[in-house]
């Protein structure tokens, strides 16, 4: 019995370390530097919708969206006055997906990146505070700072870009519903992708 209690306590503390943000609750705050060296905080964007896209350019699931131009299309369609699109890379130094700001500037230029900013989270703290486990993994935060969507980018887990056209894009759906004042019908899905390279 005692061992069981100790084990439970340890398990509890372990799970405390990796908390998972909840739908309907305020999204965890963060401050990160982008590829141009500028610092951004989540609070800077209060009053706007914020889309967080966990990214790793080497991951085949991310490549599915970037090589086909679909992610850039998504970014362009949604960044506007009221929507901010932040790509966050939590790859640790030396691991796939991690680039220096100089490398990033060239890369973002060459792929036609249309998001608001690419944030570097090399020590993984922000990734862990959001319990980001895959790339891509998407979060949508409303203008009041409350998390309204977390999970997969769409409903076809594969590396084949031909699947994008027939898939239901959860981010577009969430943004569409939230901006027109409706409740988000699919607020939480299981994300798919490569593991985040902490």
């Amino acid at each position: 019995m005692k061992l069981h209690h100790v084990a439970t306590a340890l398990l509890f503390t372990a799970t405390m370390a990796i908390a998972s943000p909840e739908i309907g609750k305020p999204a965890p705050a963060f401050t990160l530097t982008d590829s141009n060296g500028k610092s951004h905080s989540l609070s800077d964007f209060k009053g706007k919708f914020v889309v967080l896209e966990w990214v790793n350019f080497g991951c085949p699931f991310v490549k599915k969206f970037y090589d086909s131009g679909e992610m850039q299309k998504l970014q362009a369609a949604h960044t506007g006055k009221d929507v901010v699109w932040l790509s966050i890379c939590s790859s640790a130094e030396g691991k796939q997906g991690h680039h220096t700001p100089a490398e990033l500037q060239a890369k973002l230029e060459s792929i036609g990146y249309k998001g608001t900013g690419y944030l570097i989270d090399a020590d993984g703290t922000v990734g862990k505070s959001y319990n980001a486990r895959t790339t891509p993994e998407m979060f949508v935060i409303n203008p009041e700072g409350v998390l309204i969507y977390k999970g997969a980018i769409d409903d076809k887990p594969s590396t084949d870009s031909a699947d994008i056209a027939s898939a239901r894009n959860f981010v577009a759906a969430a943004l569409g519903e939230a901006t027109s004042g409706q409740a988000v019908t699919t607020a939480e899905t299981k994300p798919y992708g490569c593991s985040v390279k902490y």
Binding site: H4, L11, P60, S90, N131, T134, T159, E188, S195, K197
Partner: protein
């Protein structure tokens, strides 16, 4: 002549040599076909072969109509892995897209036990490294011609990862000759070996009991000698979120599996049994228990847990409290309220004694019921909860009592005990009060029995499988729960202050309270309608009419001031009318009325009536089945049906998935349905079971209070 065998003529001596050479060639080709596997295809990245894929077959020659197994063998470079049926936090499982000759069918991939891999950032994935053979059953058509050849083709696609991930795919194929009888191949041994690592659909040969603690499902795997290294791999459905299962030893040889997920959760339990790695498909769901040893025909893949006694008693207590809120009790609360108000301002001791009398009425009923059940269990009769309500006569009697009571509240007659003088009013009201309170207690519990609420379901199921003493304790705790608010209020008369003061309004309130009773009467009549049809209702109503007349005669002529002669005459008339009405309307009318059979389903779901034979047949055909155990007198059932089952979304899903809906209508007693309920450890309704397609020993049971999303999620799991 050597060098040009094709130009030998049959008369030539070289023909014989050609033939022998041809035979040699044929022999060689045959050996090659049987001996060597089909070509393997490699995924090569940057000059390094990451994955080699090939198809192997359990049969070197297949027979028409005879199922055999094909294995997709994946050989991975060291350090690289591919994924299991549920990949975990990241990755995607291997897939095969088949291109089979006409008439051939391929089953789903049967997955051997994976390994769990923890990656930085608390990411856990499930998959294979080194080598794995994924098994697929292939069914050839019966009209194949022996002597021909068939080629099975497929495109296998996977994700292989080390530090980084690379998707891969390969066109794999295997060509097999057709023979009259199947011939096992050398590769058959490899396939058989991997088959032992595929989870079995049978229950594990040792005790597994699941329970819920917080939002974790925990299972204690009590070890039997030779069972080691227990692991659990989840198979969540759709968007079901699941945490990382953890197994801990608890020092007494048992292991505890803990996983954060909503129940039910499908998964695989793996363990090394007597040196061999074995695994079982399970559904993690807390509920009523039967241990693996005693249930040889266990339809549950995982044995659910018996709640500990104190928990069951607590639930019984809480259930008892909640009974006060059930739709079938609420109208009677009006009577209780009235009683308390009447007593407000009286001697505090009196009030408490009233509360006690009321509570003893409740106890009397529950303990009496418990005693009857214990007695019936001993006599071996089939005993089930709310069995009283399956008897139309019983409902008729209750309806008559409710009606008379309502008339009393309306003021049609007054209940006065004969022989009491007006001067001993306090005594009278006291005595009246006690027996009245006692009776109200009994009445309230009587009406509560059909409403098996969420707490009661588990507690009752527990009680019925227990020895007599426990049954009595269980019923006692329910009675205590139901009585506690009243005991409390009557013990603390100070809180009576908060009850309104008596006055002229009481009479109006008393009359108003008749209406909830009339509503209860309507409900009882609707049950009777289900059991005895329109005719049954009409005869009952006619009887009630005569009863009402009788009661009015009594009330109009039997006042405290009327003479003895008038009184006797009035009572005689009243009795005559009542008995006459009873004999005529009930005797020859009611008893012979029958409900129309085969009620038309108005809700669009094509319900089929329950029969065990039908269910067995459908399960043998591998069809998904949804059974709704319900009864007309069960309000919770009707509520669930209206709000969670008969909805457009559920209707559409049932049609889309080809689920066969079956309604087990328990309004009247039905031994088949009773037996079916008992097999699941249940003694009452509502109860819902979904048998997934082809997995008849992994039924999904739903909770007693349903929401549409629970039903939809469970139906999706039945694919």
């Amino acid at each position: 002549m050597p060098g040009n065998p094709t130009f030998c003529y049959s008369a030539d001596p070289c023909y014989r040599r050609l033939m022998s050479k041809s035979w040699l060639a044929i022999l060689a080709v045959t050996i090659i076909l049987c001996g060597t596997p089909s070509a393997s295809v490699a995924q090569v990245v940057d000059g390094k072969t990451l994955v080699q894929a090939e198809l192997i077959s359990s049969a070197s020659a297949i027979a028409p109509g005879e199922t055999f197994y094909v294995g997709l063998k994946l050989t991975m470079a060291p350090g690289w892995h591919t994924y299991w049926e549920y990949s975990g936090d990241a990755g995607i499982p291997t897939k095969i897209k088949w291109d089979l000759p006409p008439g051939f069918g391929a089953g789903p991939i049967e997955w051997p036990i994976p390994k769990a891999k923890l990656e930085p950032g608390d990411i856990e994935v499930y998959g294979y490294s080194g080598e794995v053979v994924l098994l697929i059953a292939i069914q050839p058509p019966a009209d194949l011609t022996p002597g021909t050849e068939v080629t099975l083709r497929g495109v296998a696609s996977w994700l292989v990862c080390e530090e980084i991930c690379i998707p891969g795919s390969a066109k794999v194929e295997i060509t097999l000759p057709v023979a009259a009888t199947a011939v096992a191949s050398a590769a058959g041994k490899i396939i058989a070996d991997w088959q032992t690592r595929v989870p079995s659909a049978e229950p594990p040969p040792y005790n597994v009991t699941w329970s819920k603690s917080g939002d974790s499902l925990t299972a204690r795997v009590r070890s039997v000698a030779g069972v080691e290294n227990v692991r659990f791999f989840p198979l969540p459905s759709g968007n079901q979120s699941v945490g990382h299962p953890r197994v801990s030893g608890s020092g007494d040889g048992a292991s505890t599996i803990s996983v954060t997920a909503a129940s039910p959760l499908r998964g695989v339990i793996a363990a090394v049994v007597n040196g061999q790695d074995r695994s079982w498909l399970v559904v993690a769901e807390p509920g009523i228990a039967e241990t693996a040893e005693t249930s040889s025909d266990a339809s549950l893949g995982v044995i659910a847990t018996l709640p500990p006694l104190w928990q069951a008693l607590l639930f019984g207590f809480l259930g008892g409290i909640i009974l006060n809120l059930m739709p079938c009790v609420l109208p009677v609360i009006s009577l209780k309220v009235f009683g308390f108000i009447r007593q407000a301002g009286d001697d505090p001791r009196q009030i408490f004694l009233h509360g006690l009398a009321f509570s003893s009425g409740i106890f009397f009923w529950f303990l009496g019921l418990g005693a009857v059940i214990v007695a019936l269990k001993a006599s071996g009769t089939e005993v089930t909860w709310a069995f009283q309500f399956q008897n139309p006569m019983f409902i008729l009697v209750i309806a008559a009592v409710v009606f008379v009571f309502a008339l009393n509240l309306c003021g049609v007659f007054e209940l006065t005990l004969p022989g009491k003088a007006v001067g001993t009013m306090s005594d009278l009201s006291g005595k009246e009060g006690f027996s009245g309170s006692f009776f109200q207690g009994v009445f309230a519990t009587l009406l509560a029995t059909p409403c098996t609420g969420p707490f009661l379901g588990t507690a009752l199921g527990f009680a019925f499988s227990q020895p007599g003493g426990v049954v009595m304790a269980m019923f006692g705790s329910i009675a205590l729960g139901m009585a506690s608010p009243y005991l409390l209020l009557s013990a603390r008369p100070g809180w009576m202050k908060f009850l309104p003061k008596p006055g002229a309004w009481m009479e109006k309130l008393k009359q108003f309270m008749a209406f909830p009773l009339f509503a209860t009467l309507l409900w009882l009549l609707s049950i009777l309608g289900g059991q005895k049809g329109i005719d049954g209702i009409l005869w009952t109503a006619a009887f009630l009419l005569s009863l009402g007349l009788a009661v009015w005669i009594y009330g109009a002529f039997c006042g405290p001031l009327s003479s003895v002669r008038t009184r006797v005459l009035a009572i005689a008339c009243a009795l005559g009318v009542a008995l006459g009405g009873g004999w005529f309307f009930i005797g020859s009318g009611f008893l012979t009325a029958t409900a129309q059979s085969g009620a038309v389903s108005k809700d669009g779901i094509p319900w089929q009536p329950f029969s065990q034979a039908l269910v067995d047949e459908l399960l043998a055909e591998g069809k998904p089945v949804f059974i709704d155990f319900t009864a007309d007198w069960c309000i919770t059932c009707k509520f669930n049906e209206r709000t969670a089952i008969n909805t457009p979304a559920v209707r559409a899903l049932i049609a889309e998935l080809g689920v066969v809906p079956i309604k087990a209508d328990w309004t009247n007693s039905n031994p088949e349905i009773t037996a079916a309920l008992k097999a699941f450890g249940r003694v009452g309704v509502p109860f819902y079971v979904i048998y997934p397609a082809g997995r008849a020993n992994e039924p999904i049971t739903l909770p007693e209070l349903l929401t549409e999303s629970i039903v939809i999620e469970a139906l999706k799991m039945s694919r």
